[in-house]
Symmetry: C2
Subunit: 555 residues, 2 copies
């Protein structure tokens, strides 16, 4: 990945990428007739081994004009993507220009630009936030928006447009690339996966930029709260974490900090747990700890949990449907179905108000505004008081304190990992094309949920009972830029088997080696052994790849 920093680049064009979701391939190829199925470009360093015979060596670097825009929520490391790109294009030709759009996609449409210079960059290197260029609206989706973006690219004679963002922005980038290709606009569209949620990952993108920082900053705070819990010995802390619909941040933070409990949205969805099931689970844990004379604890909750709980999700869907029909907020509660109305009335007033908020542009609830941690803390308190009254619980009174760790981590200085990753991150391959699509008719870059069959989740499960009962809290400490700890990576990244492209290369090397050994002239024995071995390998792979194979779907 850092092959692009030199002045000589060796590019290898591999096989055409296919859709990860085989069933969706047809839809994707139809939706992206001009961009689907292009070969993957693999960039190699100058010094890469000579055994990649068909790599193209690119030595000519014409002067280029590149535009760059922040789209979507800020995530630590965004500024370093600009810095890395600036250094890369300037290394190739000092006449090349990098043009930043001010105020996000609005600036792109309105051609509000600033030229990126060494001087302009100087105070933003290794800094958090998106404030060098700013952001506003986060979409390039309507016909007008796409037209405006194209007009800008043409007016500024851009060779490439780099869009920095998450799942939604990268879906928009893919659509924009297709439209540009169709309309013969020569500007190449490049999406860069920058989102703290960690939900834009697949076989080509091991982790998103910002995820490491967010997890480190949050883990520090969670650990501080764990220490506090253990010192005061009288509070249960309910901590809600940012991260949108997927629970990657909560999972990583749990592996870092070892809190007593973490409730992952993916687990709740899979087991179809109701809010009452979850409350009961927590109450049972509180009670088990009380029996060991422990009256403190720390519970992590992902902000997306509310949409993972089936009945709350159904209620939200109904509310959003009414929003879309133009029903005003004041009238929504009286327009709900009897079932939804009963649930709504059961909930405490503060959460009712939050559930009624207008949905976001991707139709999800305003997750940062819905205090699921307070709802759970309140339900647990009510249930514990009931058990106390009934005599089924005999411990001390349950006390909860709630926290939302969101905005205080999002603007953090990026970790060393994210700084370096951002600087070297140049997804010149159109990675967003390959992987998958969702509904018929409107392919989108898929959001990656926590893999409940993955190693990170397995690690959590293996330790969950000792986390729950033994208070083996771990404090990774504050983000360090020097000394021990400065080079740590996310645990969930380290334990997962992520080097997909590396392994594809490794396989190709083995195949080349077999070819070079088994040439006309080799001994009959060697040939026989090779044929026999390859026959069984081929048979095994054919079986594993058949749709009826019931084993774990890897990747």
């Amino acid at each position: 990945m850092d092959g692009i920093q030199g002045t000589t680049v060796r590019a290898e064009y591999g096989d055409a990428a296919i859709a990860a979701d085989v069933a969706g391939a047809h839809v994707i190829s139809q939706a992206f007739p001009h961009t689907y199925g292009q070969p993957l470009a693999h960039f190699l360093s100058k010094t890469a081994k000579a055994n990649v015979p068909d790599a193209t060596i690119i030595t000519e670097h014409p002067v280029v004009r590149v535009g760059i825009v922040f789209s979507g929520r800020q995530s630590p490391g965004g500024h370093n993507v600009i810095w890395g790109l600036y250094d890369a294009i300037k290394a190739h030709s000092s006449n090349s220009k990098l043009i930043g759009f001010l105020g996000g996609t609005d600036g792109l449409f309105a051609q509000k630009t600033m030229e990126i210079t060494e001087e302009a960059l100087s105070s933003y290197k290794n800094q958090g936030g998106y404030d060098m260029l700013g952001r506003t609206r986060d979409q390039i989706r309507t016909t007008e928006q796409v037209k405006a973006a194209m007009a800008t690219c043409q007016a500024l004679k851009l060779d490439a447009l780099v869009i920095i963002g998450g799942v939604t922005s990268n879906t928009d980038a893919a659509q924009l690339a297709e439209t540009f290709a169709e309309l013969k606009c020569p500007t190449k569209v490049v999406g860069v996966p920058v989102t703290l949620n960690g939900d834009l990952r697949n076989q080509f993108v091991e982790t998103t930029l910002g995820f490491d920082t967010i997890c480190k900053v949050n883990s520090q705070l969670i650990s501080n709260v764990c220490t506090d819990a253990l010192s005061a010995e009288k509070y249960y802390y309910f901590i809600r974490l940012m991260g949108r619909k997927a629970s990657h941040v909560a999972l990583e933070c749990a592996l870092q900090s070892h809190p007593n409990m973490v409730i992952l949205g993916e687990e709740v969805s899979m087991s179809k747990l109701t809010i009452f099931d979850i409350t009961k689970q927590i109450c049972d844990a509180v009670q088990a700890r009380a029996e060991k004379d422990k009256y403190h604890g720390v519970v992590l909750i992902p902000e997306g949990l509310v949409e993972s709980i089936p009945e709350l999700y159904a209620l939200l869907q109904e509310i959003h449907g009414l929003h879309n029909k133009g029903v005003s907020i004041e009238n929504i509660s009286s327009s709900l179905s009897p079932w939804a109305s009963a649930l709504f009335e059961f909930l405490p007033p503060f959460i009712r108000k939050q559930l009624l908020l207008h949905p976001e542009s991707d139709d999800s609830a305003q997750l940062s505004q819905i205090e699921t941690e307070k709802l759970l803390a309140q339900l647990v308190e009510t249930e514990m008081n009931k058990r106390l009254k009934e005599g089924t619980y005999k411990g001390k009174k349950f006390n909860a304190i709630c926290h939302f760790f969101g905005y205080q981590a999002r603007g953090a200085l990026p970790s060393k990992f994210d700084c370096d990753y951002a600087y070297s991150m140049m997804t010149v391959k159109r990675w967003s094309r390959g992987p998958a699509a969702s509904q018929i008719g409107k392919p989108a870059v898929p959001m990656a949920s926590v893999d409940l069959k993955g190693k990170a989740y397995e690690l959590l499960r293996q330790n969950s009972s000792s986390f729950l009962m033994e208070d083996i809290y771990r404090n990774p400490g504050p983000l360090q830029f020097e000394g021990p700890g400065a080079d740590t990576k996310p645990i969930s990244l380290c334990v997962e088997d992520q080097d997909y492209m590396g392994r594809i290369k490794q396989l190709q090397e083995y195949l080349e080696k077999v070819k070079s050994i088994v040439k006309p002239g080799c001994s009959q024995d060697v040939l026989k052994a090779a044929v026999s071995a390859m026959a069984s390998v081929t048979e095994m792979l054919a079986i594993m790849s058949s749709p009826s194979f019931g084993g774990q779907a890897t990747i």
Copy 2:
């Protein structure tokens, strides 16, 4: 202060300490007949200059038995006080014993102990929290409690009892020392000023342990939020900070992070600002920023603000009075005076509920539970909407997000400054005796408010208009243990003129020097010059020290 770490200690006994509050000296001397007015011990390093002729060199170190207890809210660095004390007494004699009380003052009364050993210490060195020993109740105040503490000290044959805590705990320590002296209990009582609030400071204690860490952790988070505000450009963040009644934490964090506004309780008290005055101030600032097309901002609020606002304080006093009379929470609102009732009914329901909470043991409100930041955000929003409707404000809609930065900083790993300060902190002098008292009848260690005539506040005032309008946010970054930034000290400590004891020494050196120059045998000219110069110095000091002198009282 680090003179105590060696095996030879040079102690100098200075003048008797006098009460800082001269008017209160009589009360204190009466309340502390056995301990008031003792000479200050000043510990010098082995290598201290030879020109302290009357220093006592202590070379004999009998075997000692010392007890140590955490009292009051946890603060980063507490564990290192134990470590430093352990190393110090073991360095003097390996047979000396350090005994920790488990579970705070409750453990002291019940003689629940653990011996501090190298092994027990190993996992707590440089760690946050108080979990090595834990804490529960925070007082040694009633006759029963004092008796129980004395029984423990006698049973365990303690030479000294070290109490680690804040203002309240150190007041208790002073009372306990007096009682022990009166009853001839040989155990010496030592108070160690450990509190994140920074409100236990005077001419002998420049800063309390934990204050640096809390300010660093909070400043990092505030700065992250500032970056976020500047990136998204659509939110005002209202951040409430821990720190009890005084606003030291808010002041230091403002100097570190440069948020747009900070409202100090001391300012509000002095100017007698009502909640409406403060709301108007913020609204005017929001409006001024909107005129420069800025729709984001960061406002810091100390948790003690609610008690600094005159009408809210009066309401709280009335509520607490009703609590003390035994009125139940449900009946308090209907028992309020008409004036208090009108204010109470005006407030939003969430804050009413919080104001009704039972007061703490020191009769202050449960500051950590009262969401003043939400109250202000809501009042500002209402006012901005009103101005928008009336046409006096023509900007975009005002949006607020609220945060409370409390528990997530309190349990933090201590900063390098606090680690070192804690380890070397041995206030063997009974510092808590000297400074001041408050009400007649019940002297207490005074809480230090932010000095509105001090240099730290002056620095803030000088910059407040550029902080407000220019978004010169500063990010000190996360706490570092190595590399640049690891050795920074609190700004408010650096700018304040704090080296009181150093200056006392300097003065003594000058006086000695004059004595050594002007001896019998010196020339008549030298003698005349000395007499004339000292006459005018003496006159000037006499005038400045007279009660009618109107200049700034410098310490």
